[in-house]
Symmetry: C2
Subunit: 134 residues, 2 copies
């Protein structure tokens, strides 16, 4: 898989990957990919990231069902950032139950939450202890 | 500036910042910001990044003139990625002379350059040695 050799993974073996809604252009989230995560993403056609906190591959939606179907994969000029065009299952990318993770906007010196919670996290992940798996 | 305390800079003191075209929604580029870079971006209303290779603040367009006027600043749920909505001066964000850095798309196992060079780098930066300052 020669195309993987053009990706410049950092000293941890990771690159940031941006998930952008293929239809609306909204930037949904950013997560990290290892070489294996990127290869798996392309093979499956669904986003697979590397969870730094858990130290393992993390298939987006594995718990929430909020899978990201990948329509296009792009690489930047330095080869160290991936841009995915995705179809977001459920219309929810963020573990807070919002459409996307970028729901805070800076306004007059403070961060304002200006995007709604579409589904309560408990309804997505069940009411249980531990951090939800986005 | 309390709002800066909500940003989770990494062990190097940096966060990735995505520049998205405010009008078209196109993702133009990703660069890094230090606390000082982010503060300066908000104060000026124009994107200032931290150049890891040069180890200093880097005002986008300082050499090329391709300044980014910042229309909105967003923060993600983990507080470790910035999303800027920008007006891109000259319509060129990439040091290669393209609209954006994500000009390579994966197609059938290889990266295809599918976006045009709008202006030759020599015409942007002058014909000189050294790496152009995006």
């Amino acid at each position: 898989m020669d195309w993987l050799d053009d990706v410049n993974f950092d000293e941890r073996g990771l690159v940031p990957a941006i998930a952008q809604d293929a239809a609306t252009g909204r930037v949904l989230m950013v997560a990290w990919m290892s070489r294996e995560a990127l290869a798996s993403t392309v093979e499956r056609g669904e986003a697979v990231y590397f969870s730094r906190s858990r130290g393992r591959l993390w298939k987006k939606g594995e718990e929430s069902g909020h899978v990201q179907r990948v329509k296009a994969v792009r690489l930047d000029c330095d080869g160290d950032v991936i841009l995915l065009a995705v179809e977001q299952a459920g219309g929810i990318a963020c573990h807070t139950g919002r459409e996307r993770c970028f729901f805070r906007r800076l306004a007059e010196g403070r961060w304002i939450d200006d995007e709604p919670v579409l589904k309560a996290p408990d309804a997505i992940y069940g009411a249980r202890s531990g951090k939800p798996v986005p």
